[in-house]
């Protein structure tokens, strides 16, 4: 009955980051199961996996949904390290959550050892535009500063939900292709990371 599939499809590891209550889990559940749950229950950490077709190619996406509140930031180091791409989420109705993205960004860059990380700045709760605190311009300015894209989403209406995941997967994919080229050429540091990854597997 159990059959072996020959080649495993490519696997892209995505980490959801952002302050508590901005809708990381909501975005994840909407993307995974097409459902929106109103009740808020703080996440500690949850792992999801889904097969999707990305530009005609079947791939697997691993999503690690993380806790917004963490007593010690260092706890995040490990899973940031395991991530290949990041959706950095804030709520457009909450100033603090927007400010917090700065810290997340810095920690990711520190842990990942570089600034060319697949990364999307995501302004969630787009459906609550009448409670907007962060203007699009403000968010875009920050994205530009980081040299990343800014997308506004609504986990409730599903607006742009697929887009942020797919966009991020594309970035991860192109980053991996670049890495292969580099490692085939001359990057010692990158090849070391790759080797280490293989060890985990």
């Amino acid at each position: 009955m159990s059959k072996k599939t020959g080649t495993q499809p490519a696997l892209h590891k995505v980490i959801m980051v952002g302050s508590g209550g901005v809708g990381k889990s909501a975005l994840t559940l909407q993307f995974m199961y097409d459902e929106f749950i109103e009740d808020y229950e703080p996440t500690k950490a949850d792992s999801y996996r889904k097969k999707v077709v990305l530009d005609g190619e079947e791939v697997q996406i691993d999503i690690l949904d993380t806790a917004g509140q963490e007593d010690y930031a260092a706890i995040r180091d490990n899973y940031f390290r395991s991530g290949e791409g990041f959706l950095c989420v804030f709520s457009i109705t909450e100033e603090e959550s927007f400010q917090a993205t700065q810290e997340f960004r810095e920690q990711i860059l520190r842990v990942k050892n570089g600034d060319n990380i697949p990364f999307l700045l995501v302004g969630n709760k787009g459906d609550l535009y009448d409670k907007r605190k962060i203007s699009i311009a403000e968010a875009q300015a920050r994205a530009q500063q980081w040299n990343v894209h800014y997308v506004e989403t609504s986990a409730k209406t599903r607006e742009n939900v697929d887009k942020v995941f797919y966009d991020l997967m594309r970035e991860i994919r192109s980053r991996k292709i670049d890495d292969t080229k580099v490692s085939n050429g001359h990057g010692k540091e990158k090849s070391k990371i790759k080797r280490l990854k293989c060890c985990i597997l």
């Binding site: 199961y33 950490a45 792992s47 691993d62 706890i75 180091d77 899973y79 395991s82 060890c199 985990i200």
Partner: protein, 811 residues
């Protein structure tokens, strides 16, 4: 009443010479004492006549000068009294008549007709009471004017003066006696004439007697004539009846002869029937119809007894049997010929089609009237023909359907072979099977239906006859055997008959369908799910649930349902009996990951069908079995910790159920999430004792003592938990050792967890949290139990966080 009257008259009025006219029984109104009185109206016996009203007690209102009030005891009496009073007043009084008030007119009217009797002869006068009225008696009439003048004239003629009355009377007497004498003489002289008159009268009487005698004789003669005429009339009526009967008899005979007449043209058409060409067939049908008509002529049962009729009937029978013999032989050959038609079906088209055998239906439909005739006129032949038809057609259809099924199988197989290298061979083959099964089922329907319709019309199955007679004819002389049978029974019998015939003709369908489905079930039991759905749909959508095909499909469905349940049982059994994986890393159990494919396949097949509940039942059962088996395997796996097996598998199941959204498993989804969380917590706490094991043990002991009632501040005086002891344990965990322990733990967790479920980060995060938690709780206990001892762990929170970061960076 009469007695009262009598006693009043004799005792009261007679002595005073008065006569009682009427009386009324009254009360006086205003007197307290209700003594009854009689009010009497009397009249004096001599002139001058005087009326008295005596109050002899009893009363009512009578207004004289004074007002008297009386109440009458009896209304009738009162009326009579008042009316008589009124009458008397009217008759007697002149001038001022008393006024009568409130006296109803009807009384007066009715009274005027019948009253005066009592007044005529009486002239009594009396002198009692105040109210006296003087009147002249009623009988005393004045001389009329003419009499007066005649009297005066006569007296003048006689020259007498009225004062000499005596002479006048004498004179008058003389004259009267003279007149008497004259009168006597004239009487005597008329005697002769009287005798003559009497003779004449006698004569006349004789004449009349003669005349009467003559009239009598005439009358007698006339009497004779009447009886004769009456007799003649009777005879006439009888003659007419006889004539009418003759007419009727003639009519009947003509009718019988006419009705039982079969023209020679028809006779030859029957005896030398040629059914092979259209004209012959047409003639035969007409003749057969005619024969049926004459054999069922409307003839009175009594007439059937006639020898002529019986002879005719024999002739008819002869023709009938001759014709039915020809017909039977012909149709028999025809049926057998059809049954032996071994021509292959043309199934090579792009679509799989079971052709309807309409050609021979068309051929045979020409014989339909003759078959109907046969049913009525020669039941034995009809039954025999039906049998031959059934077996011949059965053979034909069996060949057709077998070939059709083979083709269906071939098409599925052919497709499989063509696509052998495709990855989705299973899915594709299933789709193909689905389509072909649907085609097979829907192709069988029109064929069956068309054959059924043909049989019904050809063998007239829808006309029910309760008669058991071979030939239906009125010439047997028996009454109509067709008893009244309720419509419902008829319908039921008709349906039964149709179904019986169909099941004989299409007996192979059930077998072939079963073979077909079983063949695929043996290849892969998943097929039974599709078969269940398709058959259910056909059975449920069938308009006529009693029809042969519905019943056939129904019984195949029962079989399929059985294999479906068996398939599900096998699934369940395979889960229960699944072997414990030998791998050191257990990972996701095969039946857990396979459930996804199973559920997807099943959902696809059962989507929006009526049979969904059949699947739901099994979902619940299978899911419960999966839960149980995960726990069993977790407990038995030699290498992987049970918490890990449970955690990973329940996590996987949770994701699966969230994705499948099977509503009947919603409860299981919640349950599985809870089980996952429990397993995660159990794993984290169980494996986390390791890096600081001795410290943990030490402080567990401390907590135990505290729980026993030892004061926290006095813990350090316990031998086992002295400051020295604490320092010794702490010394065993320098930062370096802790780092090593954490590294080791991380590696161990990494070794336990499978890559597939990707829970390393989740677990590690929980472990980091747990570690910090433990660190904090130890620090807290040191602060409380060893205050001021300046003892602390040899590593700080910052150290721990540093270790975490280092572990993160190390891979």
């Amino acid at each position: 009443m009469a007695t009262i009257r009598h006693s009043l008259q004799t005792e009261i009025f007679h002595p005073i010479d008065e006569r009682l006219m009427t009386f009324v029984h009254v009360y006086e109104l205003y007197k307290k004492k209700k003594t009854s009185n009689f009010l009497c109206l009397t009249v004096t016996k001599e002139a001058p006549i005087v009326f008295y009203i005596h109050q002899e007690e009893k009363g009512f209102d009578l207004h004289f000068d004074k007002v008297y009030k009386w109440i009458a005891v009896n209304l009738q009496e009162r009326q009579t009294f008042l009316v008589i009073l009124w009458k008397q007043c009217m008759n007697i009084m002149t001038g001022n008549k008393p006024e009568f008030r409130n006296l109803p007119k009807e009384w007066l009217m009715s009274y005027s007709n019948n009253v005066p009797i009592s007044l005529k002869s009486e002239n009594d006068v009396n002198n009692v009471g105040d109210n006296v009225v003087i009147v002249e008696p009623e009988e005393y009439q004045a001389l009329s004017e003419k009499e007066e003048t005649d009297l005066e004239k006569m007296m003048l003629d006689l020259g007498f003066i009225s004062n000499n009355a005596e002479k006048f009377i004498e004179k008058l007497t003389n004259q009267l006696s003279i007149l008497d004498g004259e009168n006597l003489q004239s009487v005597l002289s008329s005697e002769q004439k009287v005798v003559e008159l009497i003779n004449q009268l006698n004569l006349a009487i004789n004449e009349v007697a003669n005349l009467e005698f003559q009239l009598d004789s005439y009358d007698e003669i006339l009497g004779h004539v009447r009886t004769t005429i009456e007799k003649m009339e009777q005879k006439n009526v009888l003659i007419q009846i006889v004539n009418k009967n003759y007419d009727k008899l003639l009519l009947q005979l003509e009718k019988v002869v006419h009705q039982l007449e079969l023209s020679p043209k028809y006779q030859t058409a029957l005896t030398d029937a040629d059914l092979t060409n259209p004209t012959g067939l047409k003639d035969a049908i007409a003749a057969a119809k005619e024969l049926q008509a004459v054999m069922n002529a409307e003839i009175h049962p009594a007439l059937v007894q006639l020898t002529a009729v019986q002879e005719q009937k024999k002739k008819f029978d002869k023709w009938k049997s001759k014709f039915s013999h020809i017909l039977s032989r012909h149709l028999n050959n025809l049926f057998i010929h059809i049954g032996n038609d071994t021509s292959k079906l043309k199934l090579s088209g792009s679509d799989l089609i079971l052709p309807v055998r309409s050609q021979f239906h068309k051929e045979l439909s020409g014989y339909t009237p003759l078959m109907h005739w046969c049913k009525l006129m020669e039941r034995k032949a009809y039954t025999a023909l039906k049998k031959v038809y059934t077996s011949s057609l059965g053979k034909l259809y069996e060949r057709d359907i077998k070939q059709f099924m083979e083709e269906a199988k071939y098409r599925i197989v052919a497709r499989i072979e063509r696509e052998q290298w495709s990855q989705d061979i299973d899915v594709d083959e299933r789709t193909r099977f689905d389509q072909i099964l649907e085609i097979v089922l829907s192709q069988l329907e029109p064929v069956c239906l068309s054959e059924q319709n043909f049989c019904i019309s050809f063998f007239q199955l829808d006309v029910f006859s309760s008669s058991t007679k071979n030939t239906q004819t009125t010439l047997d002389g028996f009454g109509d055997e067709n008893l009244h049978v309720p419509q419902k029974t008829i319908d039921k019998k008709v349906n039964e008959e149709v179904r019986r015939m169909m099941s004989e003709i299409f007996g192979c369908i059930e077998l072939e369908l079963l073979n077909f489905i079983t063949y695929y079930e043996k290849l892969d039991s998943v097929y039974c799910m599709s078969a269940l759905i398709h058959l259910s749909e056909h059975v449920m959508s069938a308009q006529d649930t009693d029809s042969f095909l519905s019943i056939t499909f129904g019984s195949v469905l029962v079989h399929v349902k059985r294999s479906y349940d068996k398939y599900m049982q096998t699934q369940e059994k395979s889960i229960i009996e699944s072997r414990i994986p030998r791998k050191s890393k257990c990972g996701i159990l095969p039946f857990v990951s396979n459930f996804e494919e199973f559920a997807n396949t099943a959902e696809n097949i059962f989507k929006n069908t009526e049979r969904k509940t059949d699947l739901d039942k099994w979902y619940v059962r299978l899911m419960s079995t999966i839960f149980e088996t995960i726990q069993n395997i977790a407990a038995e796996h030699p290498k992987t910790p049970p918490e890990v097996i449970k955690m990973e598998n329940f996590h996987h199941l949770y994701a699966l159920l969230s994705q499948l959204k099977i509503s009947v498993l919603d409860g299981h989804r919640k349950e599985v999430k809870q089980k996952y969380n429990e397993a995660l917590n159990a794993y984290v706490t169980r494996y986390f004792g390791r890096p600081l094991e001795k410290l943990n043990l030490f402080f567990e002991g401390v907590q135990g003592k505290v729980a026993q009632g030892v004061k926290e501040s006095e813990i350090s005086y316990q031998m086992a938990f002295s400051k020295q002891e604490l320092r010794r344990v702490i010394r065993e965990y320098p930062a370096r050792e802790v780092k090593k322990g954490l590294d080791h733990l991380y590696k161990k967790v990494d070794k336990h967890l499978c890559e597939e479920e990707n829970l390393l980060q989740v677990v590690w995060r929980a472990m980091q949290e747990e570690f910090i938690q433990q660190y904090k709780s130890i620090e807290d206990l040191i602060q409380r139990c060893y205050p001021g001892s300046m003892i602390c762990l040899e590593f700080s929170i910052e150290d721990i966080l540093q270790f975490f970061s280092e572990i993160a960076r190390s891979h």
